[in-house]
């Protein structure tokens, strides 16, 4: 029997060191490893390079001043197109090193990293502003008769990866039950062993994983995972289909609070100043209040 990899969100976050490159799975405001992000907010880690199909994960880490470099194709809350903290960080100039890629380039960078290749070629990005704002990007010429010049997307190797899936066993085999894996397997595969963390709604026996969905849902195996974090509602307020949808009301409250330093301080005090359990209790209390009013 292989190792029991279960741990708490805070134990996972405690392995992250300032200056590391962290990849965060999910997409926009969908199935984000928010419990792990919240745990990271409770540390004194700074100067991170964050790689993400960005949503509130990026917003919260920017607001907390933890991000030095951000590699992104977009940052959005989906039903609310613009992420307020990311906007503020860009407009105030507090995000020191933005690295803006085409969405597909980002996939290619992670895929190259996962295959231990220096780069992968693509047309996406050529002739666009992406090559102008990333002067370090190089092109490569096809060695065949066509001689076409292609963009060489440099590999991203991650020091740490956070993803949130629906189910996992204690060894790190994990399962998505929603409509889309997004690029979670690539984030794990592009990451050096040691700090690859999967949070999940529920840790179950392996047999229950297999029974819980078709084999095609088992896209993350234990060779890709170092730590398993059971975090019910751990993607909140982003969606985690089919376990729960996005908490649109809470997301709206988050955006409203982010609009002003005083309201954001109140929001932080109420929701983000304690443990993950405290967060979940505060959200439940907020819901009761909202229902009662």
């Amino acid at each position: 029997m292989t190792a029991d990899k279960r741990m708490s969100p805070d134990e996972a976050a405690a392995t992250i060191v300032s200056g590391m490159t962290l990849g965060i799975g999910g997409w926009g405001s969908r199935r984000k490893p928010m419990a792990l992000v919240r745990a990271l907010l409770r540390t004194d880690v700074t100067d991170l390079t964050v790689v993400s199909y960005g949503g509130p994960d990026v917003g919260l880490l920017c607001a907390a001043g933890k991000v030095k470099r951000l590699i992104y194709g977009f940052v959005s809350l989906d039903s609310i197109p613009l992420e307020p903290h990311f906007r503020a960080a860009r407009q105030n100039g507090t995000l020191a090193e933005p690295v803006e890629y085409d969405e597909g380039m980002l996939q290619w960078a992670l895929y190259a990293g996962s295959l231990r290749l220096p780069f992968l070629p693509t047309r996406a990005g050529l002739a666009s502003g992406v090559t102008e704002v990333n002067p370090g990007l190089r092109t490569v010429q096809s060695p065949y008769d066509d001689g076409e010049e292609l963009l060489a997307v440099p590999a991203i190797r991650l020091d740490a990866a956070f993803v949130h899936l629906n189910r996992a066993d204690q060894r790190g085999n994990a399962q998505y039950l929603g409509p889309d894996l997004y690029f979670d397997d690539l984030f794990l595969s592009a990451c050096a062993p040691g700090r690859r963390f999967v949070s999940c709604e529920r840790v179950v026996p392996t047999a229950e994983l297999v029974a819980g969905g078709p084999f095609q849902t088992l896209r993350v195996n234990r060779s890709m995972v170092d730590g398993v974090v059971e975090s019910p509602n751990g993607a909140h307020f982003t969606s985690c289909e089919p376990d729960y949808g996005r908490d649109e009301k809470f997301q709206k409250a988050y955006v409203e609070a982010a609009g002003d330093p005083a309201t954001w301080a109140t929001f932080t005090d109420r929701f983000l100043s304690g443990s993950e359990d405290a967060y979940q209790q505060a959200v439940a209390a907020w819901r009761d209040e909202a229902a009662g009013s």
Partner: protein, 260 residues
Amino acid sequence: MSGTDVQLADVVAVACAEAFRGDGEIFASGMGVMPMLGARLARATFSPDLLVSDGEAFFVDGDLPVGASLAATDGAGVEGWIPFRSVFDLLWGGRRHVMMGASQMDVYGNSNIANIGPWERPSAQLLGVRGGPGNTINHATSFFIPRHSSRVFTPSVDMVSGIGYDRAAQLHPNARAHHRLARVVTNLAVLDFETPDNRMRLVSVHPGVSVDDVVANTGFELVIADGVPTSRGPDAAEAAAIERLDPRGLRHRELPSTER
């Protein structure tokens, strides 16, 4: 044809659908209510081979109303699976035509959804380039602009998220071959790039809109032929399909007929 009794949102829905005419069996992908309605309307009427998605991860079989999810509707089902990774595979292979928005666009169709002001420190951070660079270099791209103004149609754009014809002309022929900006639909008019040097051309004006209105709200010189026609409204079959695809009238919220 007076056309004054035609609703603006219906004219625009038809104009968006027309962008996909003749596309065959590819993914007609619409970003937002009106582009999605246009793609579904084209599929429901004159371009039945198109594939359309629910905006999440599935190809939709049947008429799914805009704003509805597959889980909550009857009558529309699933005919295929299109998670994000498959979207990239499919779009890099060219089997897609997207209609998206733009916050700025220039005369050659360079478009910007990323930021306003200098990229280094924008006055307004928007979405980021998203898939714009990969879309425009790999397959047909059309645009829907709900508020046609000289703030959107600008002499130059602050960040090129989607490449226009002048930039595409610099590419290797193998890449250039896949670049096509099909049409731009706004609340005032239909535009395209079917000119000798691929500058933007006024194709038609919507009922009640004059050519001068369009010119006054465009920040660069358009190619304008004599006798610009009026955009057509839906025929009976299209009108019925629009009602099926948007029974709640979301299109009118986006484009009220009184607002010009």
